[in-house]
């Protein structure tokens, strides 16, 4: 199996790596233990933060899931554009990737959020989702491109020789296989995106981080607040990475002997 290497490091524990697996368990159990113990130890600070942020967690999830869904669609189109023989389609996709990759996410967030505000009136969460997925769509596009290109050309030839056209070949033969190669980097992007949603707190979207900052701003319990926030993010990404590792394993079904 060809591996494609995109993303900001292996967030997904490999199923064969026992060492990493145990590291995951230590982190997971430790995080949960702290999230239970700290509020008991000091309900007025740790406990109060934890009670303050649940709607922020919901917002973070909403932004993450909507953004990843949209980014996957944009990414698929962009990835297909990047390998397309249609010059204009190819150029547009490449241009998009170039532009997005050249601008820091935070700047894009600000830009799209406020630019969008001048054109159409959309709720802040929608604006945040559009901004996030616009950025991540470009990275997803590269993941899709690499994933599609990692599939042996013989697979395409076999399908074409049977009489499938290019679109059918992509749909029935290449993409179903590319998924398997694409999933690990997509999973990494997914987790990276979840973490990056903390940037939308700048846009006054009431996610985990903003809720925490609001709490800290009135209570001055900065240390306690950010301890809880860090633990909550960690717990979410740990669970996600485990789920993704599980999915990855299941997608491998047809390569096992």
């Amino acid at each position: 199996m060809k591996k494609i290497d995109i993303g900001d490091g292996a967030a997904i524990p490999s199923p064969d790596d026992k060492q990493l697996l145990s590291a995951w368990w230590i982190a997971f159990v430790g995080t949960i233990a702290l999230l239970i113990a700290l509020p008991i130890y000091d309900p007025d600070t740790y406990g109060a933060v934890l009670a303050f942020i649940p709607d922020g967690i919901q917002v973070t999830f909403e932004v993450t899931i909507l953004s990843i869904a949209l980014a996957l669609i944009i990414g698929l189109i962009t990835g297909l554009g990047r390998i397309s023989e249609n010059r204009i389609f190819n150029l547009l996709a490449s241009l998009y990737v170039e532009v997005v990759r050249g601008i820091p996410l935070l700047v894009q967030l600000f830009y799209i959020y406020f630019a969008l505000g001048r054109i159409v009136q959309v709720p802040d969460i929608v604006a945040a989702v559009i901004a996030m997925s616009f950025c991540y769509g470009a990275y997803m596009g590269e993941v899709f491109r690499a994933g599609i290109m990692s599939i042996d050309f013989g697979q395409s030839e076999a399908a074409l020789a049977q009489g499938f056209n290019k679109a059918q070949t992509m749909r029935y033969v290449i993409l179903p296989q590319a998924w398997r190669t694409i999933l690990p980097p997509v999973g990494n992007e997914f987790i990276a995106l979840l973490k990056d949603t903390s940037l939308v707190s700048i846009l006054a979207v009431a996610d985990i981080l903003r809720r925490g900052r609001e709490y800290a701003a009135s209570s001055f319990d900065y240390f306690e607040t950010y301890t809880i926030i860090a633990l909550v993010y960690l717990l979410i990404t740990l669970i996600l990475s485990k789920l993704l590792a599980h999915m990855e394993q299941r997608l491998n079904y047809y390569e096992k002997r």
């Binding site: 076999a158 399908a159 074409l160 049977q162 009489g163 033969v173």
Partner: protein
Amino acid sequence: MKNVDPIIAIHNVTKYYDRFRALNNVSLDIFPGEKVVVLGPSGSGKSTLLRTINQLETIDSGTIIVDEHNLGDPGEDIHKIRMNMGMVFQSFNLYRHKTVLENLTLAPIKLRKMHPDEAKSLAMVLLEKVGISDKAASYPAMLSGGQQQRVAIARALAMEPKIMLFDEPTSALDPEMIGEVLEVMVKLAQEGMTMIVVTHEMGFAREVADKIIFMDGGEIIESETPERFFENPSQERTIKFLEQIL
């Protein structure tokens, strides 16, 4: 046999890879039911010639007419023409994410709009024929090379083609598996299928071929019956090739 029209008519075909001339003014007629074996050293253009017939390779000049369809005619739908030609590759190229059975039924269901049940029963008949029906639910990665290639032949047959193209079907196989694949091909030949086979298997060529094409340097050097080709080669390059191989 030659009083009918050829099913494949190749005329003055030339093809370049950049500046390298892979095919040089090649002409060849193949008639229905004919078994043509293409021989030649590697790089002689024999695989390229085979692949131009279903347009996996485009040509730079000349014409190829398959079953009365001119491949160079922009009005022709190459995908439809390809449906009537089965192709077997050196590296099998089975759909890795599909079971053996699904490999056989995918194209008939999607392209021929065959009912899935019908496609399945046809597939089972074909798997029976290539002797691998017990592996219907397996994935390609679980099969040996020989088994995979037999599935690949069955997959091509599932579209009920008029012509079968074989591109070095045994070259990637371990020696002990070559026999089982050739056996299937011989059986197919006996049933009257039109076959074009690029191979290095001289025994198969001698046994099955109606006509041997010998290629070198992108040209057809000789086009003979097996008897005359093997017993009485006329061209110097043919003699050299046979000396090396036999």
